[in-house]
């Protein structure tokens, strides 16, 4: 990561596509600059040698093996499932045609 440059616009565009966001030219410049500044600051983490430190993905490190029993509980009513739907048809959610 030592030769890392401030994030370039192509990378921001790629990340925006991955995030399903459309950026205007103005936004692209703005975000590129801001993300660059943030990443430059974050670069300070490279000062620390973490080779012998395990990662923490979760603060309660002792918590393991949390299960539920295989029992059927009630599902939502179709009315509840679909009441927030921007578009629906019968009991389905409706979306633009997905071409396969």
């Amino acid at each position: 990561m030592s030769d890392k440059k401030i994030i370039d616009k192509d990378t921001v565009l790629r990340v925006a596509r991955l995030s399903r966001l459309i950026l205007s030219d103005k936004e692209l410049s703005q975000y590129s600059g801001q993300l660059g500044a943030i990443l430059e600051y974050i670069d300070q983490l490279n000062e620390i040698d973490t080779r012998n430190t395990p990662p923490t993905s979760h603060p309660l490190s002792n918590l393991k093996n949390v299960f539920r029993e295989d029992r059927v509980k009630g599902s939502l009513s179709p009315a509840d499932v679909l009441r927030n739907a921007p578009r629906k048809k019968e009991n389905f959610f409706s979306v633009p045609r997905v071409i396969e």
Binding site: M1, K4, I7, T11, V12, R14, V15, A16, L18, S19, R20, L21, I22, E27, Y31, Q34, L35, A37, I38, L39, Y41, I42, Q44, L45, N46, I48, T50, T53, P54, P55, T56, S57, H58, P59, L60, L63, V66, R68, L76, D80, V81, R83, N84, A85, P86, R87, F93, V95, P96, R97, V98
Partner: protein, 452 residues
Amino acid sequence: MVNSCAVLHSCLERIERLNSKINAFVHFEKENPLGQKGTRPIAIKDNISVKDELTTCASKILEGYRPPYDATVIKKLKEKGYILMGKTNMDEFAFGSSCETSCYGPVRNPWDLKRIPGGSSGGSAAAVAADLVPMALGSDTGGSIRQPAALSGVVGMKPTYGRVSRYGLIAFASSLDQIGPITSNVADCAELLGVISGYDGLDSTSADIPVPDYTKALVKNIKGMKIGVPKEYFPEDGLDKDVKEALLEAKNIFKGLEASLVEISLPHTKYAVSCYYIIAPAEASSNLARYDGVQYGLREEAVRMVDMYAKTRTAGFGEEAKRRILLGTYALSSGYYEAYYLKAMRVRTMIKNDFSEAFKSCDVILTPTSPTPAFKIGERADDPLKMYLSDIFTIPANLAGIPGISIPCGFSGNNLPIGLQLLGKPFEEETLIRLAYAFEQNTEFHKRKPNL
């Protein structure tokens, strides 16, 4: 049946009169509280799911969304006779420390309407500070309960990660989020914490540890308790003069109560913001992927599916949300994961270890909650990094998963509240309550009210 409880009616009257000034509530219908039984009015942050009630995270993308289920904390409140007053304003998806990123417009600090109330639970903190409600629920991912509590002059606690169920809390960063109380005094905080805490089979990350009676910790005697003062939290520069003085005075008050102060060190503190601004946006970028116009909320129509996604998300998310989604997506994307996300998780371990080490020599840790009192609306809007850096004192507790409380400890020269923060060992909220209560009962800060 109309609820005739006097406290409720006083709250309704104040909300009606003052909410338009401070913009604390975003979803509020008078008939709704009046139709509920119970005696304890409470406000709910807009990112906690309440069945059939608008729950939008102050984001346009969740426009019109009414969850078909109650969050676990809401179920508990309903069972215990709380009256849900409505939903409070916040930074969009809790992304922020000022409540300026809300799609409903900024919340105003009851102490100075030109200033921010802190964030992201600024609506909840302002509602309590303005006595619209005696208590509220907030959520804290990097300081979002404690910082607005400090800046609005109220009590706010982030419990230990796993103490309160997250089921129904709309996720920002799942490994950091925690729901907690925002109240006008420590006794209410203890009571509310007791109600919402406990193991929940619907949240794999909730801890199966008995919930003590927190009100038993409401004792004034803290003699002999050891308070650690980390030098990294009292930097020579970077701490507002009034904050510095208020904290100095707070130390003296604790000394006067016969607690002992010990200097400690949390050496990795300066890396906390960097670490947090990788982990939190990374998790957020994934948590927010579901807002796509298929099942609920905003939808911008398009002929092609990919375009529907992009148009919907582009129209629905605000600027800060987009910034964090981009940052988080970048940190997780191929080629950068190890350099950023994995690295941050390792640094997180070091920050966590700092606390374990420090707690060997003290019972609690005393710090300022925020480096400065409330700033003016718009003042820091152009510099996200500067905004991020102001969370330096609250972020480490979230990374380590430990509990923290902010209580009023003074006022600035221009009559803005200042808060102190106490950090505790995992699942030792009682110790925090005990010290906070002793401090509160021996000071007058909590009695001062904003002039509205």
